[in-house]
Amino acid sequence: MPSPDSELSILYELIRSSFRYRELIWALALKELKLRYKRSVLGFLWALLNPALMMAVLTLVFSTILRFGIPHYAIFLLSVLLPWTFFSQSLSYAVDCVVGNGELIKKVSVPKLVFPVAAVVSNIINLLLSFVPMALLVLAMRHPFYGTWLYLPVPILALVLFTLGMTCLFATANVFYRDVSHILQVVLSAWFYFTPIIYALDFVPPRLQWLFKLNPIIYVINGFRLAIYWGQLPRWQSIAASFICGVSALFIGCAIFQRYQDKFVFYV
C-alpha cells in the first residue's frame, strides 16, 4: 500500500472501492432512477422525453425568436448544453448524497465513496440517453451527421472525471455546512453564463478571453461542440487540457472526501 496521503493511493482507493462495490453502486444508481421516475405514467421514458422537449423549446426559441446568426443554432447550443446539464444535474443532485444517506451511514459500515459515484453513474445513464434525441434533432435539421460522433466517448470520460471530482468536493462540504447546497445553485447559474454555452468563446471581447480561459469546464465540454457541431477533432493540447482538468478535479475532490469521510457519521 502506498502511504495514505500519496496521490496514487487516493485514486487507487477510488478505483478499488468502485470496483469492489460495483454491484452496490449499480444498485444504488438504479434505485435513484427508479425513484426519480416512479409514479409517473411514462416512467423511464421521461429520461428520453425530457431532453427532447427541452430541445424542442430551445429550437423554437432560438430559430424563430432570438436569432444569433449562427446556422443550426439549436445544435450549436445543445451539443454543449447536454454535457453541461449532466454536470449541473449531477452536482445539484449529488451534493446531498452523503447527507441524504445519513441514516445508512450511521448504521452500516459502508465505503462512503459509493454514494457520490452512484449519484454520478445514475446521471451518466441520463446523459447517454439524451444523445438519442440529440441525434434525431441533427437528422431533423439536416445538419451533417459527422463521423466525429465516434470521438464522443473521450470527452464524456473527461467530463465524468471532472464531475465526480466536483461532486465529492461539494458533497463533503455540504456535510459540514448545509448552506453549500443552496450556494451551489447560485454558483451553477453564474457558472453557466460565464461558460461559452449559449455563445461561442469568440463572442467574448479579446481582452477578456484570458479570464474565460481560466474556467476549467470549457476544456472539458469543448470536445462535444467540436465533434457534434463542427465535425472536427480537438487538437491534442485541448484533449490534454480536458484530462488535466478532469483528473485534477477528481484528485482534489477525492482527497478532500477521503480526508473527512470518517467524520461524516458525526455530522449527518
Binding site: 462495490y21 454491484e23 452496490l24 444498485a27 444504488l28 434505485k31 427508479k34 425513484l35 416512479k38 441514516e103 445508512l104 451511514i105 450511521k106 448504521k107 452500516v108 459500515s109 459502508v110 455546512y177 448545509r178 448552506d179 470518517d262 457519521v265 458525526f266
Partner: protein, 258 residues
C-alpha cells in the same frame, strides 16, 4: 469467483484501549451564518464527551457475549465501533471475519423499493455479492414469512414484517460475527422464538455473537459471558449470573426516590 471470506476460519473481535469521544457542541452551528456569528462572538461552545473510555475487550471465536448497562452507558456506541460505523478516537479495533450488524434493523431499507429489491440492496450494503443474495432470496422470504407481499414496496409492510425481513436478511447471509442490538423486542412471541432458535443455531455452529439487551432473562439464558458497561467503562466482566446481579445493584438506586 472465489470468496475471500471463506478462508477466515477464526473470527475474533479485539479492542485495545478504545476511546470514543463525541464533541457535543451546544447549538452546533448548522449554517455558515451561525458559525460566523458565533465565531466572532466567541460562542462556539462545546464539551467533549467520552461515550467509551479506554475500553479493552477480547471476544474469542464462538462466544456469545452479552452486553448490558443502563441507558446511555455506551452499549450501542460499542457495537457501532465494532461494526465499523464509528472510527474510534483512540485505540485499536480488530475484527476478523464477516460481520452482520443487526443494529436498528432495516437501516439499509428504502421504503419505496419492494421487499425483493431491498433484500438485494441490503445484502450489497453488507458487502455480499448479487449472486450470493439471489441464491438466498427464497429462504429469506420464507423465514421472514412475507409471502406474496415480497413484490410490494416495503412502506406498505407492517413494522413487524419489516423487522422480520431485516432479521432474515442479516442472518441468512451466514456471517462469522453477529451483532444483535435490542432488536428482539419487536415482533410477536412466535417470531422471537424463531429468532432465538436461529441465534442458537449460530451458536452451535461456532459463530461469535454480540448481544445487547435489557432483558436479563435472555442474557442469563443465552450468553456465555456478560460485560457490564457504565458511563463508557467496563465495570464487570464474567459469568452471566454474577454480572446480572451487579447490574441489578446498579439500577436499584434509580428506583428508590432519593
Amino acid at each position: 469467483m472465489s470468496d475471500p471470506r471463506r478462508w477466515v476460519t477464526q473470527s475474533v473481535v479485539k479492542l485495545e484501549n478504545v476511546t470514543q469521544c463525541f464533541r457535543v457542541i451546544q447549538e452546533r452551528p448548522d449554517s455558515l451564518r451561525e458559525l460566523f456569528a458565533k465565531f466572532f462572538r466567541h460562542q462556539v461552545s462545546y464539551h467533549d464527551f467520552n461515550a467509551i473510555r479506554d475500553l479493552s475487550l477480547e471476544v474469542p471465536c464462538g462466544q456469545m457475549l452479552g452486553i448490558i448497562g443502563r441507558n446511555g452507558s455506551g452499549k450501542s456506541t460499542l457495537l457501532k465501533i465494532i461494526a465499523g460505523v464509528y472510527k474510534p478516537t483512540a485505540g485499536q479495533v480488530r475484527v476478523e471475519g464477516t460481520l452482520a450488524p443487526l443494529i436498528e434493523l432495516g437501516a439499509g431499507f428504502h421504503h419505496e423499493l419492494t421487499g425483493r429489491e431491498n433484500i438485494l440492496l441490503n445484502g450489497l450494503l453488507m458487502g455480499y455479492s448479487k449472486q450470493d443474495m439471489k441464491a438466498r432470496e427464497q429462504s429469506i422470504i420464507e423465514f421472514a414469512e412475507i409471502g406474496e407481499f415480497i413484490d410490494a414496496p416495503i412502506k406498505q409492510y407492517s413494522s413487524g414484517m419489516q423487522t422480520r425481513l431485516a432479521f432474515a436478511v442479516a442472518t441468512e447471509v451466514d456471517p462469522d460475527i453477529l451483532i444483535v442490538d435490542e432488536i428482539l423486542a419487536v415482533g410477536d412471541e412466535s417470531f422471537q422464538q424463531k429468532c432465538f432458535a436461529r441465534i442458537e443455531k449460530f451458536r452451535s455452529a461456532g459463530k461469535t455473537i454480540l448481544f445487547v439487551t435489557h432483558n436479563m432473562n435472555q442474557v442469563t439464558e443465552h450468553c456465555d459471558r456478560v460485560i457490564l458497561l457504565e458511563r463508557g467503562s467496563m465495570i464487570a466482566d464474567g459469568q452471566p449470573q454474577e454480572v446480572v446481579s451487579s447490574y441489578k445493584h446498579l439500577t436499584v438506586p434509580d428506583l428508590t426516590p432519593a
